[in-house]
Amino acid sequence: MSLFYLAAALFLLGTILLGLVRVLRGPGSGDRMLAAQLFGTTGVTILLLLSLALEASALVDVALVFALLAVVAAVAFVRQHGLPEPPDTPIHRQPPDTPGPERHHDDR
């Protein structure tokens, strides 16, 4: 049986690594955030499977903590403090910014 759990966990780990393609490609930050959310759930599942495969019941607690805090990053993503109210147009890729005036000088 534990062989089966382990194989299932390995399969799920594989889906995480595949899903990384979405994080790398994007294109929007929403896509990346969604991928992270899916990884969190997959991670919980892997932990539950490993707890049976390795016969370590403490891993269920680890999974519980992951499940409990899975939403924090997403909430931070949506409700950052400095976030301006919805702008008129979506922000598009900006040119690289110019050095600011307050750049300090080394005396060397």
Binding site: E102, H104, D106, D107, R108
Partner: protein, 494 residues
Amino acid sequence: MIPANPEWLPAGSAGLVALSLGVAVLATAWPRQAHRIGLLGALAVTAWVLGLSATFLHAGPDPETAATRVALGGWEAPLGLMLQLDGLSMTLLVLTAVVALATSLYSLGYVHDRIERRQFWPLWLWLWAGLNMLFLSGDAFNLYITLEVVSLSAVALVAFTGTAAAVSGAVRYLLVNILGSLSFLMGVVLLFGEHGVLDLVLLEARTEAGPTERMAAVLMTAGLMLKAALFPLHVWLAPAHGSAPAPVSAVLSGLVVTGSFYLILRLWMGVFAPLATPAFGILVGLLGVGALIWGSLQALRAGRLKSIVAYSTVAQFGYLLVAFPLMLVDPGAWRVVVFFAVVHALAKASVFLAAGTLQHAAGHDRLAELGAVLRARPRTVFALGLAGVSLMGLPFTGGFIAKYLLLEAGLGTVLAGSLIGVLWVLAIAGGGLLAAAYVLRMVAPAFHRGRRDAGEAVSPWMDWVPLALATVAALAGLAGVLTLNTLALTPGAP
């Protein structure tokens, strides 16, 4: 007078840790009174350290039994962790107490803002407690944690003024520190994996020149060199000092950097002693020569007072590296090295405090425009000059004694038939000349004709403390025999 009892030493060491931690915690919880708590705490900790050193000197004429080991929580190593007090740590504790007391008094004048005071004192007291704990620690993992306490509070203090330049310097310092700490920790892990113990004494008994020890030695030494700003890993030092408050610069160059160097010395005298080969010694010595030349040249080129002093730290630490090959030939030379580090710390701290007074008065520290203030503040310039003379190593100062002893060790190497010894002697002698050049650069404007302008008023603390500390540094030569005798009470060291 109450006779000193050697049985007080264990409680005295644990008590020192508890006292300095208690002061820090109290100041953290009650920031409104932090400066008063800090002043009382500084006096109490200094008095405690001096009492401890008196007891120590009375107690242990026998170097093999002179080390006091304290099992914290009653658990002996290898299960628990031990504090260790010997001649080396005692010397550095006294040095720390003197410099830290001076810094605390200076800070009473320097950090006068009611709100800044509340932020400054807790961090500073944590830093001091961290240094005390570092010098007392006898356990490899505990050393890592005390190093973290020291570095983290030092980083916070560098960023303390909150300006962009200060924060930028602090971030660099933080990254360097993290890298150094992780490297050190990795070495600790390797040693633990190989030997299964963390206690330094137990480790020392088990180490031999194997691949694990070599790797651990490389990792730990590199990490500590990074933290000690030893050439060529010194690049963070000047930016970190550039905008740090003066008392912080003094402690950073005087004590924090010395703490990392202490650890390098302690490890190579103990755990890594079987690994030291002549070729390795020569490599370190060459790095030292490089540090002397490069640091001095940068100090001669720098345009700001504090940068000059910061680069002089890089240069002066070159001596400590040059001393390494000497120690391989004459094992007893390590005591001279420590004495040199002590004198350097005292002198460097007073130079930074004096520079801080000048900077505060003038509102900047650009050397070219500092003449008027320099001419109007003879007391501070005298402190700067006196400490500078000690850095140069002119006769009768502590620096002179230290360099004389170093030169003696160097000549001993030459006489022992080592050709490269000539290079070390030349470096030690030539380094003094370079130091003279940059010290004179700092004080020379005071002797030019021109306008005098005392600048902004400074508190009496800022006026007198640098002078007092510079005097201590200059007179430290008188304590040379005492220091060397104290250091002799280090078991296991020649």
